[in-house]
């Protein structure tokens, strides 16, 4: 029996399989090393980095929702300098392609972050976060206006040769316009989707549960929204799509790939089942074997035929 080819081509970036982890759900790669060897993954996306350290939002930062959860961490991170000095050397040891998620509050911030990323390290790509719903300025603002989004990508593109991923927010009326804008700006790939803005209220205190009042919804509840957006964007752009949003099982991953995702990211599911990414790799392989595909990339976009 011939092994199924899992090799995944995302523009210039080649991964050994299409399953990666989503930013903010996998720390800096070390926490889940207690469960399995992270090098079995296609790639790891690390916690979003900003130029300066951020303490993030006050607690509570998470709230459960039906088949999902809200988070409002607020981009707590050690900042660019500490990331490069302390965390990057540790990430090298994981022997896994690393995707660094960057956020900023101005075009200069994005330029600075992009130019600071070494091009000869374990960093395989830079994910440009223009979609964080949990910070007061920047973030989401860049991701909801096509002109700003394109400009952020253009500035980032000028400052690094690394492959660029644009991570888009679903909190827009027309995702296709945004996708086309970041493609024009120079994105090599598009990540779909970040969290959906939501909130919950405590019946006892009669106040919002989250310290930040509002937060981003993730988990199985958002899956159909994400599949729909991947499907729409696949038709409109040429760059490959990394699909994410509620992926917990291999069936979910197959659905995203049929919709047009070349690779998938596992996020919230890590919290529930730390082994989810590995189970998805196995299940994807078995699905291809049973359906008669020689390579997993053959199923990408089949829902459009």
């Amino acid at each position: 029996m011939k092994p199924i080819d899992l090799t995944t081509h995302l523009g210039r970036l080649t991964l050994k399989n299409p399953v990666m982890t989503a930013s903010g759900t996998y720390g800096f790669g070390e926490e889940y090393a207690a469960f399995y060897d992270p090098s079995r993954l296609g790639a790891i996306t690390v916690k979003g980095i900003t130029p300066l350290p951020r303490r993030g939002n006050p607690v509570p930062r998470v709230a459960e929702t039906p088949s999902g959860m809200l988070n409002a961490v607020g981009l707590e991170n050690p900042g660019l300098e500490a990331f490069l000095a302390t965390y990057l050397p540790r990430l090298e040891k994981l022997k896994t392609p690393i995707i660094v998620n960057i956020s900023g509050f101005s075009l200069d911030d994005y330029a600075l972050m992009a130019s600071a990323m070494p091009e000869d390290s374990c960093i395989a790509a830079v994910e440009v976060n223009i979609s964080c719903p949990n910070i007061k300025q920047g973030g989401l603002a860049f991701g909801t206006d096509p002109r700003s989004a394109e400009e952020v990508l253009r500035v980032t593109r000028k400052n690094t040769k690394l492959p660029l991923i644009a991570k888009l927010t679903p909190n827009v009326t027309d995702i296709v316009t945004l996708a086309k804008a970041v493609e024009n700006g120079g994105a090599d790939m598009i990540s779909l989707i970040n969290t959906l803005l939501g909130m919950r209220i405590d019946l006892k205190t009669r106040k919002p549960i989250l310290g930040n009042t509002m937060g981003g919804l993730s988990g199985p509840a958002v899956l159909p929204v994400a599949v729909r957006m991947v499907y729409q964007v696949y038709k409109a752009v040429r760059v490959p799509i990394i699909g994410m949003g509620g992926i917990s099982t291999w069936q979910d991953a197959v659905e995203f790939m049929l919709a047009g995702a070349t690779a998938v990211s596992v996020g919230t599911a890590n919290f529930v089942n730390p082994l989810a990414p590995l189970e998805i790799i196995e299940g994807l392989t078995e699905y291809c074997r049973q359906a008669g595909f020689a390579a997993v990339r053959e199923i990408v976009g089949l829902a459009h035929r």
Partner: protein, 298 residues
């Protein structure tokens, strides 16, 4: 770190509190103050795991004991789990209590914050450490139903406080702590005075004399606490004023339970005076009470 544990017992002990005994790999490496992150079902709703403190560790039998109060949909669902079934458990996780080798250990508990302290009672060498529990609860029913199945069977000194005055001290458990700290300070002063007169003799009011003295002539006296945030803050402040070392076990809404998501954080003031984030699930849940910044004003 990810295990399937067999349910040995899942019984209501009173006041919406259940005892859950699990057999498996966790017991072998569990330490006082650590917790487990339990999956309460196999469906996506409720989605997240539940963090529950470890209240008993029986290494020879390979069993851990947990107590949980039914507070929401997850814990309600957990009550339906039967002996013989298995549960998916991440654990043991977290950084727990320091186990003192000598001296006096005062444990301060609020409500169901009592349970994580049991592992500390079990872990200390009781011939060298004198242990006393101060426990506050809503009322007599809660204290009797829960304590009758747990604390009162443990052969340990205790005092209780109830908000409605129906049992023990009428008021807060922190009143009991304050009295104990003042009493302790007075004894310490008396001891030092006595020591000046008859150097080297053990103070008779400390009982057996088994307590080992610190070089400065005072037996080690420490406090460990678990309960609502307001109570822990009061405990930490009282101990801070008296210069008594105190460890507090914090509770926070959690998602991953292993330090990856930064959902459950607290703020601490480090030794160099700067403010820093710590993860309750990984760096805690037990922290030095004097380090924790309780009011986070932005």
């Amino acid at each position: 770190m990810l295990h399937r544990e067999i349910v040995i017992e899942n019984q209501r002990i009173g006041a919406d509190v259940y005892r859950l005994v699990l057999k498996g790999a966790v017991a072998a490496t569990a330490r006082p103050g650590q917790f487990v992150h339990l999956q309460v079902g196999t469906t996506t709703d409720p989605l997240l795991r539940r963090p529950i403190s470890i209240a008993g560790i029986d290494q020879p039998k390979g069993e851990i004991t947990l107590y949980y109060r039914v507070v929401g949909r997850g814990t309600a669902k957990l009550t339906g789990v039967r002996a013989g079934e298995t549960l998916s458990v991440i654990g043991p996780v977290g950084t727990g209590f320091t186990v003192p080798a000598v001296g006096e250990l005062l444990l301060v508990a609020g409500g169901i914050g009592l349970f994580p302290l049991f592992t500390l009672i079990e872990a200390v060498d009781r011939s060298a450490v004198r242990v006393k529990v101060l426990w506050g609860g809503e009322n007599r029913t809660f204290i009797q139903e829960v304590g009758g199945e747990t604390l009162f069977k443990m052969d340990v000194d205790y005092a209780v406080a109830t908000m409605d005055g129906s049992m023990g001290h009428a008021g807060l458990v922190t009143d009991l702590l304050q009295a104990a700290l003042e009493d302790r300070a007075a004894r310490s002063l008396a001891h030092r005075t006595a020591e000046g007169q008859t150097a080297g003799t053990a103070p008779s009011d400390w009982g057996t004399g088994a307590l080992t003295e610190r070089p400065e002539g005072r037996a080690a006296f420490t406090v460990a606490a678990c309960g609502p945030k307001g109570m822990l803050q009061a405990v930490a402040e009282s101990c801070g004023q008296m210069g008594v070392p105190v460890e507090v076990s914090l509770e926070e809404r959690m998602a991953c339970g292993v330090g990856a998501c930064l959902g459950c954080v607290c703020l601490v003031r480090t030794t160099d005076g700067t403010l820093a984030r710590r993860r309750v699930c990984k760096d805690g849940p037990v922290f030095d009470g004097r380090e924790v910044v309780w009011d986070e004003a932005d």
